[in-house]
Assembly symmetry: C2
Homo-oligomer: 414 residues x 2
């Protein structure tokens, strides 16, 4: 997938290690019996960071979520490290909190930092006890191996059914200082991402207060990460965290000024790219889908409509079958919980092969099935919906529903 260009920002290598002062590592500590797969990852900042996080809205919350929340509260939003494991979500276990705390203690001891400066996360199967022994064995070599090139090992440690590493970083300028912001992500079950676990860790050397990091994160999540989801619900272990260590040396951002906007856009660029990577690598996906809703009277209407289209299982199947069944799209627009006039809606199907207008003012228009088939044969499909009702727009992302999705999720635990 080609990454969209933005003036003033350039893409750089390095993921969570792109920004100054960050190191990372990953290895197999024995939670995953497959020794070739990393199951434990770490990100570390040589300087204290202002940190912020957003968590799942699910009533069932993984123990690591509760522990991270408590830590950031105790430390007043200061963090130094992320410790994360895959293969076991440490959720719905009687001793979950205790285990998550122990993992943080082990990490803090190795790194010589306070336990409340550790952000902890887990992803994998729910309801299976998570033993501490693998962490006891793995923590020392993990910390010892931290390096500026460790981002790839770290991102591999959070992969579950992911088929590709997902990381993005950008470089930009703030008051004459060169800054970087990068992140890594994992995600699965892109049909209803609200039911899968998605983790995002972002690092930056920008100097910015915890409050402003939190504000930028909350604003950005709404139009990126949450636009993968059908209804805003999330899984038990979802988490996005941002750590800002200030080593770029810019004047600290403490209010909504021009510098804040530059930072917020950097975060948005990185998170939007990771969101699109998550969509493209959805379980069993053969096609990336993007729905852009324009002409909405407000941003919430645009988001609701775009998410409704992307969330339709019937549309996802039709895209897999390369079937220009635009009735599925109009149906999904029609049951979106938003206020607009369905008789004004236009829909186009777009890909590298061209554009097929399929609906004008709520009614079907004739099109060549042959050409539509050519357009839908591409691997990236764009569904453009125009409500003709205002100037706001939003996008949502997903993938098609395939045989492989069913196969992957029919026997997830083994």
């Amino acid at each position: 997938m080609k990454m969209e260009k933005f003036d003033g920002y350039s893409y750089v290598e390095g993921g969570v290690c792109a920004a100054r002062g960050f190191t990372a590592n990953g290895l197999n500590c024995g939670i995953n019996p497959d020794k070739n797969k990393n199951d434990l990852g770490m990100v570390f900042s040589e300087a204290a960071c202002h940190a912020a996080a957003v968590y799942t809205q699910n009533k069932v919350k993984g123990a690591p979520i509760l522990v991270t929340k408590e830590h950031l509260k105790k430390s007043n939003g200061i963090a130094r490290a992320v410790i994360v494991n895959s293969k076991n979500a440490n959720t719905c276990n009687a001793d979950g909190i205790e285990v998550a705390e122990k993992v943080c203690e082990l990490a803090a001891k190795e790194l010589g930092i306070g336990v409340e400066e550790v952000i902890v996360a887990s992803t994998g199967v729910i309801g299976e006890p998570l033993p501490v022994e693998p962490f006891e064995m793995g923590m020392h070599p993990l910390a010892e191996g931290l390096s500026r090139e460790g981002n790839i090992e770290a991102v591999r440690a959070i992969m579950t059914t992911d088929t590709v590493e997902k990381e993005v970083a950008v470089e930009f300028n703030l008051g004459g200082k060169t800054c970087r912001l990068g992140g890594m992500a994992k995600g699965s079950g892109m049909i209803h991402p609200n039911m899968a676990t998605t983790l995002n860790f972002v690092t930056t050397d920008v100097a910015i207060s915890s409050n402003m990091v939190q504000k930028a994160l909350s604003e950005t999540v709404k139009v990126t990460y949450n636009c993968l989801s059908v209804d805003g619900d999330t899984s038990t272990n979802d988490m996005v965290s941002v750590m800002a260590n200030g080593l770029a040396g810019n004047a600290e951002i403490t209010e909504e000024n021009a510098e804040y906007e530059v930072f917020r856009q950097a975060l948005c660029i990185v998170m939007q790219n990771m969101t699109k990577m998550l969509a493209a690598d959805g379980e069993g996906a053969s096609k990336f889908l993007e729905c852009a809703c324009s002409g909405a009277k407000d941003i919430d209407t645009a988001i609701t409509v775009a998410k409704s289209v992307i969330g339709s299982s019937l549309l996802k199947c039709a895209m897999f079958g390369e079937d220009a069944n635009w009735g599925r799209i109009l149906c999904a627009i029609g049951y979106a919980d938003a206020d607009f006039d369905i008789m004004k809606v236009n829909v186009d199907l777009v890909s590298a092969a061209g554009t097929v207008p399929v609906c004008r003012n709520g009614a079907g228009v004739e099109f060549s099935e042959e050409f539509a088939a050519k357009v839908l044969a591409e691997s990236e499909i764009y569904i453009n919906v125009d409500l003709q009702d205002g100037g706001c727009q939003a996008k949502a992302w997903g993938c098609d529903l395939t045989y492989d999705y069913v196969k992957i999720n029919g026997d997830y635990r083994s």
Copy 2:
């Protein structure tokens, strides 16, 4: 699937023709190029009926929905016939209303009744013009062939991806009079039935006012038909209608008395059975799923939780894979938009092979994977959720998510 027994009600044959005075028929009139498949169905009452209907909530409404609404308004809730076609939904067509009206005129003329006494429905592909010619050709033989045994031909006329005919009828007593109530249904896309078309037509010889029929229908739909759906949204053409011709000779029901309750329960029995049949025959389904939520503080909480579990694609895949991944269930309970304490939730997996308690007070309990595999190998799986928070309960129904679902919906239009 075994039908549940209810005191005072016995199941009888005949579907929409079970009640006195109703005849039906179905045939191929050429909308479906496969001449072996019926595409046009009719139900007729020799006496005027008090009728009621509920319709899709989708902003995109099929033309037949709009025409039926208008007819029942004009006729003050009096109807005599249903005319229904499959293979083409007559939705999003510029001349849709005109065509639907013309179909009603043709039916009314053949039957010698008023055009406003005709209920019209269509199911099939959206956005393809529906020609009138097949109806002109088919209406005469259709009406001429109406018979007391025509219920099977009629139900076959509304099948799309359905693999079995769905009809149910019961006999019961009202004030010394033997009464009957029966229905036929079609449905597809049981993953998100809100996005498919589901039609239900119910007939009865009970004497009851239009207002009370409407009340009973609205109450019953909430706990049957709508519990197949994920979020209460519906497709463009969904409709449930009830026609009561009064030929049983009971004193007309005009208020919420004991007789109303007997009628309401008859309607509930028939609609609940049809709902379960729709779930079991979900597209590509290999297993029927029922989630019963008990111990809820109110009925709406129970409905919300049960529907959340049944609506989870990840759970559906796990059931297809016969994987006792109860974390998926707890996750779906957790994101249900209702108020309860997740730390009190108990979950059992139940089938003809036995019961596996998998969760107590929000935490996993040990169970034999071998026994769980035996339980999940059955074709009807019951997921029992106890919120331990009150005395209310509700059920929701669905099916597993299989390779065949993807196949069927990948190329629906051909």
